[in-house]
């Protein structure tokens, strides 16, 4: 590999808390997951009306990507084709699949149907942040840091990406969980992008 890949920033959403680079930035234990996502949207003064139309998985991932990238100026540093996004989850789009199946009994909802694929989350984030690089979504029982880091490092090694948003975004049964980090080269004071460090951050809260 020509250059060392590092973790330049990360964000973790779990148990109604949001942690950015080790600092807790928002918490509300009294709310349901869906209300928590809305409260975080309001708290961080995000203005993106499409958010209200998203399913819970997309809201979870969108919110985390929004907070991770808001100060990164990715579009000033990279071409859209140089920015990748790779994430995985355990429950795919099951939360919305179940709701869509229920809607079939009366009138199938087109707006639910469009969210019956987990990789729609990638589309939502790519539209918002003008990302056109390598994109992939995987489904695993649990977060697999070894797979995730190997896959990402191969993208850097083959020069498919110059920076990549990576992590985990899951929503099912009223439980939201997301962990996104930004992997880049040339960040000397950041953690090295390997499975040990990624797992350590993932287990953070």
């Amino acid at each position: 590999m020509s250059k060392q890949v590092s973790i330049s920033s990360y964000l973790l959403l779990r148990n109604n808390q949001i942690v950015v680079d080790g600092q807790k930035v928002f918490e509300n234990k009294d709310l349901s997951s869906t209300d928590f996502l809305q409260a975080a949207y309001d708290h961080f003064q995000i203005n993106y009306p499409k958010f209200f139309k998203m399913d819970n998985l997309c809201k979870t991932g969108f919110l985390v990507a929004e907070l991770l990238l808001r100060n990164q100026k990715l579009n000033e540093k990279f071409q859209p084709e140089e920015i990748g996004i790779v994430f995985s989850n355990a429950n795919s789009s099951l939360d919305t699949d179940i709701k869509y199946e229920a809607s079939i009994a009366t009138a199938p909802s087109p707006s639910l149907f469009v969210y019956t694929l987990p990789n729609v989350l990638i589309g939502e984030i790519c539209i918002r942040h003008r990302i056109k690089g390598e994109a992939a979504c995987f489904v695993f029982d649990i977060f697999d840091a070894i797979f995730q880091t190997d896959y990402l490092n191969s993208l850097f090694e083959t020069e498919k990406v110059k920076t990549c948003i990576s992590g985990w975004a899951d929503y099912y049964n009223g439980k939201a969980e997301a962990f996104f980090y930004l992997a880049e080269t040339g960040k000397e004071n950041s953690d090295i992008h390997n499975s040990l460090n990624v797992n350590k951050i993932f287990q953070g809260i």
Partner: protein
């Protein structure tokens, strides 16, 4: 007609998940798509579902969609003309 228009605004917000809007934010003659409220093709499908579910009206010719769904008032006109 004004009562139907007011009801439609509430139903559109609910059906299309436009929680950032209040009924009074939607003008009776404001374009719903593109330069107006910014609705998209999926929203158009949801409006078709709304007509079927709430008013028992099926859009006979999909080509009529852009005309029928131009504004809240044109939807109200269509409902008034086609409600059984």
């Amino acid at each position: 007609m004004s009562e139907l228009i007011a009801t439609l605004k509430v139903q559109i917000i609910e059906q299309l998940n436009l929680q950032h809007l209040k009924p009074e934010d939607i003008g009776d003659d404001q374009p719903l798509f593109v330069e107006g409220l910014g609705l998209d093709s999926i929203d158009a499908l949801e409006l078709i579902v709304l007509l079927q579910q709430r008013y028992g009206i099926k859009l006979a010719n999909p080509q009529d969609g852009p005309t029928v769904f131009k504004t809240v008032r044109t939807i109200a006109d269509y409902i008034t003309a086609h409600k059984k």
